[in-house]
Symmetry: C2
Subunit: 408 residues, 2 copies
């Protein structure tokens, strides 16, 4: 399959190394391809971890094990396999993961529970243990690589590598956060089909790292959708090596905790949006701003109902300001809404207010806005103070072309 | 837009007249087209009615009024406008409906509440009252027409007219049920984007007619989906003229009540499946059979999660037995499921059983099955006795082509 670079792609940003994090890549040849497909990240002793995992009940062994391991709060290594998700592979799949954990733990002299494994790709084929073993061995011998190389290696159907960084001052020390992510289809909250990793040199207690990551998740990864489908492998992990030397953050009241949380939010929002920018077949990046809902959560659900509507997504693909379809999607969300108070707009122009089309509605500036790559849809419910922003892409022939012939 | 006949279309069946039902059609010219777009159905005195209405909270005035009228249980006429849904048009839209009700009521000498109005088409443009008035006047003068003519006239983006019939013996009398339906996109439960009408000469008390229609709905109209979108106008109405002369059915214990309910189920299932067969861009009719769920309702939700998954629908379009995507869709449904007891099959062949791919899985017969127009997906959860059947179509380039340029 020929995957051309998404027209919504952004260049890979300049990202500094993170003290205590070493990246290596290798060829495990999980598929018949000649590319690196195994990423190995070594983490300094004392690294803490927090995680977010798919809610799909048919999740992979990687997700089951990772969820348990993350509760222990300690990490020394991360292995990411690309090309095979190892999901729905029963005990064979679980053994493959445990073998990788044991191999790396023996090398580092750590607990297997400190070795995190993620796999992404086709469902239903047990990860070949011989290739994994050889791939790990090759990675352990490989030189360190760049963030961009690692971002490329964790990718599957991605058309561009995705990374983001932010910095913050924590207790007089500058801390850095760097993240990479993969994902382009099977994207919906809980979680998107994606594997995302954020690394920081800040010192953060595991419980507080989890608190921050979970809070940020609600306004970032939970606010994107490509096709409403939810993968069996989705995982976001945050690792904190502590090498910046700050007093470990343990609560929201600690000096610098706000700044750290804001930087984490910044990185996660960038990463989440990058996944949408690589949505399969995407030609337009759509921001849906919902205001006036009863609660923020209600606003988010209404935004996702609009974002997941095939009729809205195809209308945007066609450059059609079809606000009637937005009304439909608001109405089907199952959330409080009053038709006669509802307003819909595109690109800063209202097209309908309080349940009726605007009498003096001028379609020209709206049509012009819809020709661009970045489309804004505004939904105002006039019910309360709840608000949310949700990001998605349009639904095009490209999505069909990619997905009607992926596995074969 | 050139709409070619769906490859899944069925020929219009032979359908007898229903005593007490007169069909007439006319040109109201709601759009710049030269076709009949107004359907007028006159119903004998004493006709009872039951209804199902969209749960979309941004529903049209037609739906708001129809829901109130149906509670009264009596009907003398039905008017269906095609080309303009009159949804999201505020007080102007409501006045247009009330004008139609008054005009027909004056003609028949009945209550306005006995005149049911439905509209389907573009959202956000008030129904032009002058055209409606002239259209009604023309229809009242028109000769009676066939079921097929009426089915064509209520259609919008439909590519073929849809009708179904059934008969039953009720208390020694043969009763006939005839139904017509329109709808091809914006199809999901609660309800599909559709307008459906069932007429019978049976005598049925309104409360029992509503009971039967609501029960049947759970296994028919609630089990279809094209694109997960839910219209602002969806309505199904059942009218019983009583001219067959049976003792009016009032409860499940009445002689013939079972036979009548079964015939109603038969007609509604046929009508629901016809809507899927005209799904926008559909090239394959997909039946998803879910067994072993905890409850029937849980089975239905799992079936709809599979049916609504763009990744499953595109895989079927591509003839790809991608059972991993079915696993994903089962897992994201939010219903009880145990990955390690889950089995997936296509066309009578299991591809995965109890959480793992079959060791001796032979893809050849499955690939052959997927080449056909009628695809069967089996999901067995091995948890309980809950079962459901759900119908959908594949997702193709045709869907994008139709929906990326509909309004303009």
């Amino acid at each position: 399959m020929d995957l051309t670079r998404s027209p919504l792609a952004l260049p890979f940003p300049a990202m500094p190394p993170i003290d205590g994090v070493t990246l290596r890549i290798a060829r495990a040849r999980y598929k018949a391809w000649d590319r690196c497909d195994l990423t190995y990240v070594e983490l300094a002793e004392g690294t803490t971890i927090a995680g977010l995992f798919t809610k799909n009940v048919c999740c992979s062994s990687e997700v089951e094990l990772g969820r348990e391991q993350a509760r222990l709060g300690r990490a020394r290594a991360l292995v990411v396999n690309a090309g095979n998700s190892n999901a729905f592979t029963g005990w064979r799949g679980r053994e493959a993961v445990e073998q990788i954990m044991a191999q790396v733990a023996a090398h580092l002299g750590c607990e297997p529970s400190e070795v995190f494994v993620c796999s992404t790709g086709v469902i239903g084929v047990p990860l070949p243990t011989d290739r994994a073993q050889e791939g790990i061995a090759a990675a352990l011998d490989a030189p360190g690589c760049s963030w961009e190389d690692a971002a490329l290696t964790i990718g599957t159907t991605d058309t561009f590598p995705k990374g983001a960084m932010a910095q913050a001052m924590v207790g007089g020390r500058r801390v850095t956060l760097a993240g990479i992510i993969k994902g382009s289809g099977m994207i919906a909250p809980d979680m998107a089909t994606m594997l995302g990793y954020i690394f920081t040199d800040a010192a953060v207690e595991p419980a507080f790292l989890q608190y921050c990551l979970s809070a940020v998740n609600e306004r970032t990864f939970q606010c994107i959708t490509v096709d409403s489908d939810t993968s069996t492998s989705d995982t976001v992990l945050a690792f904190a090596t502590g090498r910046a030397g700050n007093v470990p953050l343990a609560s929201v009241d600690d000096a610098g905790a706000d700044a750290f949380a804001a930087a984490l939010h910044d990185v996660c929002r960038q990463l989440a949006q990058l996944v949408v920018r690589d949505g399969e077949g995407a030609s337009k990046f759509i921001t849906i701003g919902v205001t006036g809902a009863e609660t923020d959560e209600s606003a988010r659900r209404i935004g996702l109902s609009v974002a997941n509507s095939p009729l809205v997504k195809t209308a945007i693909a066609g450059g059609d300001a079809n606000w009637g379809r937005v009304v439909m999607a608001v109405g089907k969300a199952g959330e409080p809404a009053d038709r006669d108070r509802l307003s819909i707009g595109f690109g800063g122009h209202w097209t309908a207010r309080e349940g009726q089309p605007l009498a003096d509605y001028d379609e020209a500036p709206v049509a012009e806005h819809l020709k661009g790559r970045e489309v804004q849809i505004a939904v105002d419910l006039s019910l309360g103070d709840g608000r949310a922003e949700v990001w998605t892409c349009d639904l095009t022939h490209g999505y069909i072309a990619i997905n009607a012939d992926y596995r074969s």
